[in-house]
């Protein structure tokens, strides 16, 4: 378990190092996430039981890890007080817009893909 967590910390540090060296706008942890995803897609056997339990432990605690950063809003209460209308409106509207667009886009694409494979039976999946 501990080697798995140390490995995940190491990948995070590697991602941060890459981000700083290349000056990328993408957070370092995300670079680490991409790297590990690529490795795991190419080599599924790399996801050992140890790595899985280490990852599960970190993901279980993840919500708690937000708390220190999130509590920082108390330093911005004044700004929120001044701008609460744009903040609340943008938060609600853009969240619902994103929900609806994703649902409709996926339903629409599913319908298009289904009708296409129906008209060309030879193109159907052969897995």
């Amino acid at each position: 378990l501990i080697p798995a967590i140390l490995l995940l910390i190491g990948i995070d540090l590697l991602g941060n190092w890459i981000q700083q060296r290349l000056g990328l706008p993408i957070p370092g942890a995300l670079i680490g996430l991409i790297l590990l995803t690529i490795v795991l897609c190419l080599r599924p056997q790399f996801a050992t039981r140890q790595l899985r339990s280490g990852a599960r432990l970190l993901l279980l605690g993840m919500s708690m890890f937000f708390v220190p950063a999130g509590t920082g809003v108390i330093t911005e209460l004044h700004e929120i007080q001044l701008q609460w209308i744009p903040i609340v409106a943008a938060l609600c509207l853009s969240t619902f817009a994103s929900l609806l667009v994703t649902v409709w886009a996926m339903q629409g694409l599913d319908r298009i893909l289904a009708s296409r494979s129906f008209s060309r039976p030879t193109a159907q999946r052969s897995e």
Binding site: T37, P44, G54, L59, L91, C92
Partner: protein, 242 residues
């Protein structure tokens, strides 16, 4: 003036660190218990409860946020490895949901674009400052990724963290009302939307509603984080040209 001895100062420093380290899990644990008392209502989110408890404590006692954070940094640091750990379920869902990727990936990307662009421009349109707009833009990404993006584009990471959590709660609260959007219940599409618009908190809720929705939400969580990290810096550059 009488200065405390080095040993006393070291003692004080240790206490400060311990305060931050212990306060966070304690407040979070109270949040978890409170949510259980409220029958798992998404409104009583443990993260939100913990933030409110610690925030109130700091504001009433006058302890600076920085003092708390210097101790709590140990916990904050784990966000990075936890984000990397998302690769394990993501790789799994990429493999098992392979045949649904042609419709899921473009739909999730569209959801990310709508969320980031509308978030940024609605704040600007309604008279908010750039700092708030850039904090709003990455809010649909999972919190650690959103914080990282906000930091990179000149937003305010704590505000982004709060907005990301609130967006997740918003989606979690409304997800089961959206079931009848299409002709029939479409769990894959609903799950993808939940992950794309509400990240972690909404993904947890999607798993409660349906296993299928949950796995699509997990896929969307990962892909949306990636899409948001690419899109937000571009949108911000566009906004600055204006």
């Amino acid at each position: 003036m009488h200065l405390p001895s080095p040993r006393a100062m070291l003692h004080l420093l240790g206490l400060t660190l311990l305060f931050g380290v212990l306060l966070t899990p304690l407040a979070y644990w109270i949040g978890v218990r409170l949510q259980r008392l409220c029958h798992g209502s998404p409104l009583v989110n443990p993260v939100l409860v913990a933030m409110a408890l610690i925030g109130t404590l700091l504001l009433t006692t006058g302890i600076p946020y920085r003092t708390y954070f210097s101790g709590a940094y140990v916990i904050h640091f784990l966000l990075g490895p936890a984000t990397v750990a998302l690769a394990v379920p993501l790789a799994d869902s990429l493999r098992t949901l392979r045949h649904r990727l042609p419709s899921a990936v473009p739909a999730i990307a569209a959801g990310s674009l709508v969320s980031a662009a509308s978030g940024l421009w609605l704040v600007r349109l309604l008279g908010g400052t750039r700092a708030v707009a850039y904090s709003m833009a990455p809010k649909a990404a999972t919190t650690p990724i959103a914080i990282g993006i906000a930091l990179g584009v000149g937003g305010e990471p704590p505000m982004t963290a709060a907005l990301a959590i609130l967006a997740g709660i918003l989606v979690a609260m409304t997800l089961h009302h959206l079931r009848r959007l299409g002709k029939s219940e479409n769990w894959p599409a609903l799950g993808a939307a939940a992950g794309a618009a509400g990240s972690g908190i909404a993904t947890a809720r999607a798993f409660q509603l349906s296993e299928v929705a949950g796995s699509f939400a997990g896929l969307a969580l990962g892909l949306n984080g990636l899409a948001t990290a690419i899109l937000v810096p571009l949108l911000v550059r566009l906004d600055k040209l204006w």
